[in-house]
């Protein structure tokens, strides 16, 4: 991964359905978590669910975040289904 990328991680059902544990996306000024999700959803197929009706939770650097939260180079963006522990 180059220095100008954001690591995107997927967990649980999303990881299985996307068949992807993690990938890297290019950072750009003003980029938000929602932008990354929209870019990935445009791949179609299972990726469309990143902009679908089922809720997707977002964490940036291991803290809960929102679609409008900014992401920059070096960040870890995690996308996952609502949590079900306990």
């Amino acid at each position: 991964m180059s220095a100008n990328t954001i690591t995107v991680r997927f967990f649980a059902r999303l990881r299985e359905e996307l068949d992807t544990e993690q990938l890297a996306v290019e950072a750009r000024p003003g980029l938000t978590a929602g932008d990354v999700m929209a870019d990935l959803a445009s791949r179609g197929g299972a990726w469309s669910q990143l902009q679908g009706e089922q809720p997707v939770m977002i964490a940036i650097n291991q803290a809960m975040a929102k679609p409008g939260s900014g992401v920059q180079a070096g960040d870890e963006l995690a996308l996952f289904p609502p949590v079900t522990g306990g």
């Binding site: 991680r9 967990f11 649980a12 059902r13 299985e16 939770m57 964490a59 291991q62 803290a63 809960m64 995690a78 996952f80 289904p81 609502p82 949590v83 079900t84 522990g85 306990g86």
Partner: protein, 148 residues
């Protein structure tokens, strides 16, 4: 004390550690969650639990800190297992000691309720038909929101 682990835990040892928290402790409340035979599906024979290492511990520490700001919490212990679990296995332990029972009950219940909707764990039910990711329950969200 927070532990995310694949192995089982000894509730009696956890209780003993809570009891050993000083002469000001007057109450200990504990909760233990077990693998049940039904959930989103019937005939559940086991569970698989996944988590987000690092974030999980941070979120739980935040819940303990929040509980400590609301109630008298002298010590809190949270253990959550991950990986493959069998029917009736222990999944989660939350133990809190306080000066009085009201604080111990409330802090224990708060940590457990908030953990269910904010700590990054995901449960998969296993039965004879295969495997099924569990969906988050509206009732769990309502219980957690009740503490806001």
């Amino acid at each position: 004390m927070i532990s995310i682990q694949t192995g089982d835990f000894d509730s009696a040892a956890e209780y003993a550690a809570l009891r050993d928290s000083g002469a000001g402790t007057g109450a200990i409340a504990t909760f233990t969650g077990l693998v049940r035979d039904s959930g989103d599906t019937q005939g559940v024979t086991g569970l698989y639990l996944e988590h987000y290492p690092g974030m999980t511990e941070q979120v739980i520490q935040g819940l303990i800190d929040e509980a400590s700001s609301r109630w008298d919490v002298r010590q809190a212990r949270v253990i959550h297992r991950v990986g493959r679990l069998a029917l009736q296995d222990q999944i989660v332990f939350v133990g809190v000691c306080s000066g009085h029972r009201g604080d111990a009950f409330a802090a224990c219940e708060y940590i457990m309720d908030a953990l269910k909707t904010s700590a990054p764990f995901w449960k998969k039910e296993i039965n004879q038909d295969g495997e099924h990711w569990v969906e988050q329950k509206a009732s769990d969200r309502e219980r957690s929101q009740g503490w806001d």
